[in-house]
Symmetry: C2
Subunit: 301 residues, 2 copies
């Protein structure tokens, strides 16, 4: 049995307050998929450069920030394996880029695939209407496993003592998968969010979780911002990625005290209110000291 090694890319961009992910071009008959391509051991000297190369070929995008996410290799990921196809390994990458116009049909709001992950306007209605009841039913049907299932649900969805943790995107998706509430697991049900091909929604979930964790510790949001931005635009970006609203004055204080941005003196007057100062990322900080993130970090208690 052969092994086929591929590279998959979760390419993220922002359009204002919409987090976008780049999809592979498709004829529309199959569910959407992430851009992916085989690893060419001759041409690709490193995995990173291989990824950059075929992403540029396929999409015309030049990637800036690129980070290896995870290697997916479970048997049965690709249904063609069952017809004697090779075992398919995918080395998944997270990439951030500025070059996105939401108008482009290849870019897609990632919350279409994970509506419950967007809590900026409060908990999503789907949670109470479909997801939690469905999960509760699955737990109840679990026999001896039931209690364990209930605990996993509480932890992942923050229903018990625990609070909602934005980083647990994958844990939540996996519960929905096991409970057959997503179309990838049960095509007839198709209850929660839009499906993707193969295990690509799992890969996207991994990427969102990782990115949400990352913005807390490293100044990666700026890879997604244009050169100049107001603090509210920056806040909207962080909120878009994190899926949660932030306190405006505290966000401002947080960002200012990190020293990651500097005012440009320019003003933005399309704010709908008092004009805001435009800021820019101080690229130098990356050379001066380990630079932190601009999203609030979880508390310990």
């Amino acid at each position: 049995m052969d092994i086929l090694v591929g590279l998959a890319a979760v390419i993220v961009a922002l359009d204002g307050d919409r987090p976008l992910v780049r999809l592979a071009r498709s004829d529309g008959t199959l569910p959407p998929a992430l851009p992916f391509g085989p690893l060419d051991p001759v041409r690709h000297r490193t995995l990173d450069s291989g990824l950059r190369a075929w992403v540029e070929e396929q999409t015309g995008l030049t990637l800036g920030y690129v980070e290896q996410l995870y290697t997916f290799g479970d048997k049965g990921r690709d249904p063609r394996e069952r017809q004697g196809g090779p075992r398919v390994l995918s080395i998944a990458y997270l990439a951030l880029t500025r070059a996105a116009e939401a108008a482009d049909r290849d870019w897609h709001d990632w919350y279409d695939f994970f509506p419950w992950e967007d809590r900026r306007a409060g908990r999503h209605a789907l949670l109470d209407q479909v997801i939690l009841p469905g999960l509760a039913q699955w737990a109840a049907a679990g026999g001896a496993e039931g209690e364990r299932r209930r605990q996993r649900i509480e932890l992942a969805f923050g229903t018990g003592d625990a609070a909602w943790d934005g980083e647990k995107v994958l844990e939540r998706y996996e519960l929905l998968y096991e409970a057959a509430l997503v179309a990838e697991a049960a095509p007839q049900a198709a209850l929660a969010g839009r499906a993707m091909r193969l295990d690509h929604r799992r890969i996207l979930a991994t990427a969102i979780g990782r990115l949400r964790a990352k913005i807390r510790y490293r100044p990666v949001v700026f890879e997604l911002m244009s050169e100049h931005f107001t603090l509210l635009q920056l806040q909207r970006a962080v909120e878009a990625l994190g899926g949660e609203r932030l306190h405006k004055q505290n966000f401002r204080r947080l960002v200012e005290q990190t020293g990651l941005v500097e005012g440009t003196g320019r003003r933005e007057s399309q704010t709908g209110g008092r004009p805001a100062e435009q800021f820019r990322f101080r690229r130098d900080v990356l050379l001066e000291r380990p630079a932190p993130g601009v999203a609030p970090r979880p508390r310990r208690g």
Copy 2:
């Protein structure tokens, strides 16, 4: 050109205050290597289970905590490629286990490979005697790249404004590699730490960095502790992994306020002073709420 996919394991255990890593059995003629084995697409249904299976076969160890680290795939990782061998990908895992007796020759103190990473007795002498002078020379020889190199050194080794960051193990190793201060890059020099085969020291560096980050956010140290332990033993464990000394009273408070441990009422009298209470890990917390780590977290400023 073919691709060969292997699994590599960084298996960590603790012997009191010595962090140990499991090495592959060897005839002694080659530099030490990590345990590794090919991925068998027929027998191994998942990458994790494949790893567990051959680690158990090869070493007799049953792994508890296992986490995928990184997939290494640069051309030239394995020198046999140059003689027409296949491109070798290694999916590296971090595994934690209790089962270690330091007496066993297959276990090795990881600081033998990274002496400069152990700062429990202060900065290592090697830093001032060999490493920093060597790096400074490399930067000076860098021409236009020189300034950039100096900044990377400052950031990685905390020589400028920045403080030493225990997590940057890989960054430091890579600088030493580029500056040809490690035997993997310049066999005749062999200045800093003991060498390993192929890029295994890079893999180990990745693992140490990841583990140091992880203990701050998740209660993984307990995977390395025996059932009962005193708070000082726990502190020594965290210090061993982190390579830095901690404030005793504050560590105690930190651990107690997380609710991760509970006293057993038993005492340990081999302390050399007043007997200490023995604690145990409250496994339940993992089911109750997202459990934090027991190492201090970096500050933002």
